[in-house]
C-alpha cells in the first residue's frame, strides 16, 4: 500500500514548499495530499488515513489544535503521525500541542532538511 502524506496549511506557498521539500519521496511511492483548512483536513484524514500529517495551527474554519485533538482522541487514529507547524515564538502552543496529542512540534521557518529527515523517519524510508 502506498504511503500518504497530508499537508495542511492555509497558505499555498507553505503547501508548495513542504511538497517541494519532500519531493524525492514521490519516487518511493509516497502520495501527497493537501488541505487548506482544518475541516477539509479532517475529512481527508478520515477517508485516506495518511501516515503523516503536517498541520498548521492558525487556519480558518478549524484550527490545527482542534484537528489534532479530533484525530487523536475523538477518531482514535493514534497511528496518524502529526507534526504541528507553527510560527516561531508561540511557546504556549507547544504545551497545547502536547496536550492535544501532537507527536512533534516544529516552528516556522522550519529547516527543510530537518523536515525531510523527519518525514523519512516516520515513513520508515532510508
Amino acid at each position: 500500500m502506498d504511503k500518504k502524506i497530508l499537508i495542511v496549511d492555509d497558505e499555498a506557498h507553505i503547501r508548495m514548499l513542504i511538497g517541494q521539500t519532500l519531493e524525492e519521496l514521490e519516487d518511493e511511492g509516497v502520495e501527497f495530499l493537501t488541505a487548506d483548512n482544518g475541516q477539509t483536513a479532517l475529512e481527508i484524514i478520515q477517508s485516506e488515513k495518511p501516515a503523516l500529517v503536517f498541520l498548521d495551527v492558525m487556519m480558518p474554519k478549524m484550527n490545527g489544535m482542534d484537528v489534532c485533538k479530533n484525530v487523536k482522541q475523538d477518531m482514535g487514529l493514534k497511528d496518524v503521525f502529526i507534526i504541528i507547524l507553527t510560527a516561531k515564538g508561540q511557546e504556549l502552543d507547544k504545551q497545547k500541542g502536547q496536550e492535544v496529542g501532537a507527536d512533534i512540534y516544529m516552528t516556522k521557518p522550519f529547516d527543510p532538511e530537518v523536515l525531510l529527515i523527519k518525514a523519512k523517519e516516520v515513513l520508515k524510508i532510508d
Partner: protein, 559 residues
Amino acid sequence: MAKISLKNIVARKNETSQVIADLIRQLNANIWIEDGNGKILAGDQQASPVSVVPVSSDNETIGFVKGDGKAGLIANLLSQLAQKESEKKKLGTEVLSLYQEINVIFNFSEKLTQTIEPDMIAKITLEQAMHSISPNGGVIVLWDEQSKSLQVPASDGETLFNYENIRHHTSLLLKIGLSGNSEIMTDLTQLKEKNIINAEVNSLMYAAMKVKHRIMGAIILAGKEHEQFSAANLKLLVTLALQSSAGIESAMLYEKNIREVREREEAILRIHEVTKKFVPHEFIRSLGKETLTDVKLGDQVEKLVTVLFTDIRDFTTLSEKMTPEENFHFVSSFNARLGPVIRSNNGFINQYLGDSIMAIFPENPEDALRAAIGMQKAVHELNEERKQKGLPLIKAGIGMHTGTLIMGITGDEFRMDAATISDTVNTAARIESLTKYYKSPLLLSDRTLHYLHENNGFYFRHLGNVKLKGKNNLLNIVECINGFDDQQFQRKLQTLSLFNDAMSAYHEKHFENALQFFQMIASKDPDDLTSIYFLDNTKRYLREGVPHNWTGTEEMMSK
C-alpha cells in the same frame, strides 16, 4: 532537479489520472502509455503499434504513447500536463531556495541577538557565510576608530589572506573593500601583487558592512575556482553583512556606554573622595548622613565634643623671612604632619585657618589629649630636622576645651559650608592664645579635665582662673605636661608637687612662700617658662602689693 515522472501524471490516484483514463475510454482509443524505461503505466501493450509518439517535458522524452492514431493526441496532452508540472516544480524549487535563505537569515539573526561582543558577532557572521556559501576562505575586516587601523576579528577556512598585509595596505583595502560597495571582483592582480591574497585565489567576493552611510568594514570571501560565486551568493553575503553591521554597531555602542558609565562612576567616586577631604566624613556622619550629597542646608546636630586649636607661635616673624611660596610649603608640611595624628586619635580636622588648625574630637577628651601630645612630639621631630638644616625652631601652642557644639550646614542655596557654631570653639581658640601668655605649649580648661574618664598617665598643673575679655564666667586653666620632651617632662614631674605648693601659696597671697617655691623650681628646671611667669608675677606682687579683693584671677584684656 528531479525529472518529471510520467507515472505521477497518469498512474496516481488523483483527479488528473482519472480524467486521462476517462478520456482514453471515451475516445475509444486503443493505446498504451510507457515510461522512459518501457514500463507500462496505463493500457495494454499490443504488438506492432501504428503510431509511437514521445511525451516530453523541457525537451526531454519522459515516455511514449503507443497504439492507434489517437496516440498522438494523448501524447500531446500528456506533454502539456508534464510541462505544466515541470513549471510548477521549478517554481516550487525557487520558493524552497528562497525559504532556505529566509531560514538561514532567521537563524543568523537569532544567533546575533545572543551576543553583545563585536568580535563574537564577526565570528558568527563569517561562520554563517562559510556555511551558506562554501568559499575556500574568508575574513572580516573592521575599521577600528580608536586605533585608526584595520582589524581582523574573524577568519575562517584556508589561509588565503595575508592578515598582516591586510592591516598594512589599508589604503588599497579602503579603496576596494571598504568603498561601501559589494561585488564579485574580476581583477585580482593588484591584490595579488600586494600579497594581500594568495596566488591560489581565483574568485573574490566582498560585502561592505555599514550602518547608514558609515562603512565599518567588509566580509571578504575567497575561492580557488574561477567564477566560484554567483549573484545569489553575493545577495546573501550582503544580507549577512548588513545584519551583522547593525549588530556590531549596537555591540560597540553598548561597550562604549559601559565604558562611559564606568568612567563616570570613577569620576563620581573621585569627587566623593575629594569632598571627604574638604568636608570630613566624620562631620557628615555626625549629621546622620552618609555622603555630602545627602546633606542639606539647615542640617544640624548638637554634641558634646572637645575642640582643639593649634597654632604656630610667632608665625609672623617666621614667615617674614620666607617668600609666599615657601610660606605655603612650610604651612602645608606642618599641617601634613599634624593631620595624621589627629585622625589616628579619632579626631577630624574641621578647619585649616592659615597656620592654625581646628580639630574636633567627638568621642572623648582623652583622644584630644593624646592627639595634642602626639602633635607636640611631631613638632619636636620637625625641630630636630630644622636644627640640622640650621633653620629656626618652631613652637606650637595647643589649646582645648570641652563643651557642646552645633555642627551644621550653613550658607544659602548657592554656597554652603560645614560650620560649627558654638562658644566652645571660641573658648578653645582663646585657650590656645593663652599658651603665649602662660608660655606653655598645651593648655586645657577644667571642663576638659572634668569630662576625662580616666587620667591614666596624664599629668596636669593647675594654673588658676582666667577671665576672658567679654566673658563673665571664669575659666580654670590647666596645663598638661606630657607633651614636653623627655628631659623636660621628667624635670616637671619632679617639681610637680613643688609647683602645686607654689600655686597654693600664690593664690593664698603668701607671696613670700610662693617666691621661695618658684625660685626652687627655677633652679631645678630653668626652662620651666610657666613657673618663671608666675615667679615674675610673685616678685611684682611682693614689690607692688595686690588689691584687697585680689583672687589670683588673670584678667585678659586682649583676645
